[in-house]
Symmetry: C2
Subunit: 356 residues, 2 copies
DNA sequence: AGCTTACAATAAAACGTTTCACCAGAATTT
DNA sequence: AAATTCTGGTGAAACGTTTTATTGTAAGCT
């Protein structure tokens, strides 16, 4: 009747009539245990519903089998997907994951990183809030760190990111090829390396089309206002290309609010594909980032580091895919009839670009 | 030069010239320690960059300050948002969270729940995969469990969910009031309690309009096919109401694929609002579930349970909001001119319905 | 039979922390 | 001045494991 506490290895040992060490040996699959004893132990484990205490186990064995994951925002579908994939992969390798979100806040990220140390993870995968990540990493951090997606200002980190320049360039070249005379490129801030690389990719790719950059900041009401003002001014640019997730949402909403129709009034393309972009009509042309692959590579790299592989920091850039859809019709002069969904896939290159 | 290991409380004690117990006392804010000693300890802590080992701390103190969270799918924005809010709240109460996703798989959920026990959490918040959750909870589970969102078949659980019936009824009444003659209601499966409650809410709310239910299953290619077949048949229903997240995505895509336009060909409404529904034109009429509030209530309840509050299981139903947008125009016979974004909010009732 | 090897099981130490019981000295009371 | 209480600090035990060293026993060899 009295709520007996959660069963410990000691209780299992007593019940099975063996020593604590034997139970541990059975549970950890040590070969030096007779079938008879193993059976008795397993039986006791089942009867008591015993499961190991990870804290105690890790404390003694000094094998962590635990990795930390820090992302800027779980509600961003891309990061959610990243985490979900990581979780799956880690499980396959028998690792546990501690996941925290920085809620788009650099200070909170710093705090989370500090707190992370208390878990004594064997390694860390971080998508940093911004480029200044290095300053927030607790000094004397002991475990290997693999960065993903966002590019840090400081060198010296393992990094798995995407091929921003060429991917953005492909979109720009596509728009250029469609005959648009000018393109408004919108991004949160060029101080974010990802955005800067994309903008540079655009400039490098266009030959004829005129491009113009507009930075609207993060949560910068002023910037949003500037965007709206630009979109109300005439003449409109022929096309609009937004370079990051938040900007895309804001831009798309603003266009709808002031009654601009895509693609009749202007063409629209986005870096960072979202689910709805293939649902709406017309579909939105977008750069699809290889989130799953990014998670796979990040995990594989971290696993190598955790199991002792030293060596210079690795940077790997993954190839994005470009989905051409109805928001940037093949020829803006032709009829804008019903656009078929799905669009065609345009592969950038056969092999991912990897500067190392 | 030799990579000294990560600092322990022992090293801090040595450095500060005090005992281990004193360091612990300082770190845990015990009042019985002189300012001088406290200063020395804090200095040593800072110099060494010491942070406590949570595993060891929890092991000894037997205070967990740790809660587990199990959700069916992190890539579902609603659940991601749920987790993100929980994480924030837990932090305010100085709790850590271990978050795992079941990846929409009941077996994986069972596995995750088993594994969860190893963490020795003080409590658990679970959004179950399906109604059969009770069977998957490891028997003799020790810690309090609060369920959220999905309603279990078995009674006896604390539960925070939404007011499915009235919310779905409000949509149905709205459609009815617009003069649509018939409405096709689509959901994954009536064996899911949420979906069943919504369907029953629809039936209870309509007076004139004819309603018809179509179950398309989860990952049921056959079901998707039946949906497409129905949407190709004439006459079309005047309106379509989809009852859950997956179904909404599938339905919306199917409509676009076969060239049906909303709301010209048929009106469309959805349970489970998503971000893009207010971005697209026309906006999608949808039931918005109070995710943040659900997380708040779940956390508050779990916290009470974890700190020893006994008592009968509590069920609380939270009020949803209904966002009427352009996909279900006020009068389908009037001109379907430019629809203003945002829509109006229709509050169901002033006070949340709470059967307890 | 004696001697070594191999095997199966165990007792005890260790992991890093918190807590408990205790102690020396100072401060207060008698 | 002796007796008591308070104060700030400490050694050691304990938490639930894994691991190491050790034991006892059976088997294999001359």
């Amino acid at each position: 009747m009295s709520r007996s506490r959660t069963p410990s290895i000691k209780m299992v040992a007593d019940r099975a009539g063996v020593s604590v060490a034997t139970v541990s040996n059975v549970l950890n699959g040590k070969p030096t245990v007779s079938p008879d004893f193993a059976r008795r132990v397993n039986e006791a484990v089942r009867e008591l519903g015993y499961v190991v205490d990870l804290g105690a186990s890790r404390l003694r064995s000094r094998k962590a089998h635990l990795a930390g994951v820090v992302v800027p925002d779980l509600t961003n579908p891309m990061f959610a997907s990243f985490v979900s994939t990581l979780e799956h992969l880690a499980r396959l390798d028998d690792y546990d994951l501690v996941v925290v979100s920085a809620r788009n806040n650099a200070e909170e990220e710093a705090d989370r990183l500090r707190k992370m140390r208390s878990w004594r993870p064997a390694g860390l995968i971080v998508i940093p809030c911004d480029g200044a990540f290095a300053e927030r990493l607790p000094n004397g951090f002991f475990a290997p760190v693999v960065l993903a997606d966002r590019i840090p200002d400081a060198a010296g980190f393992d990094l798995i990111a995407v091929d921003n320049g060429p991917a953005a360039g492909a979109i720009a070249a596509h728009l250029d090829g469609q005959g648009y005379g000018d393109c408004l490129v919108v991004g949160s801030s060029l101080s974010i390396t990802n955005v800067r690389e994309r903008w540079e990719g655009v400039r490098a790719a266009v030959s004829r089309m005129h491009v113009e950059m507009l930075e609207i900041g993060i949560d910068d009401a002023n910037g949003a206002q500037r965007l709206e003002e630009r979109l109300r001014r005439r003449p409109l640019p022929g096309a609009l290309f937004s370079l990051d997730h938040g900007t895309t949402l804001l831009t798309y909403r603003t266009m709808a609010e002031i009654g601009l129709s895509v693609p009749d009034d202007l063409a629209f393309a986005s870096f960072d594909e979202m689910e709805w972009m293939r649902l709406v009509a017309p579909g939105i042309t977008a750069v699809r980032q290889p989130v799953e692959e990014m998670a796979e590579q990040a995990w594989a790299l971290l696993l190598r580091r955790m199991t002792g592989s030293a060596g210079k920091p690795v940077t790997r850039r993954l190839r994005c895919a470009v989905e051409i859809r109805g928001s940037t019709p093949r020829s803006p002069l032709e009829e804008a009839g019903p656009v078929k969904l799905g669009g065609e896939k345009w592969k950038l290159q056969d092999e991912p670009y990897s500067p190392e």
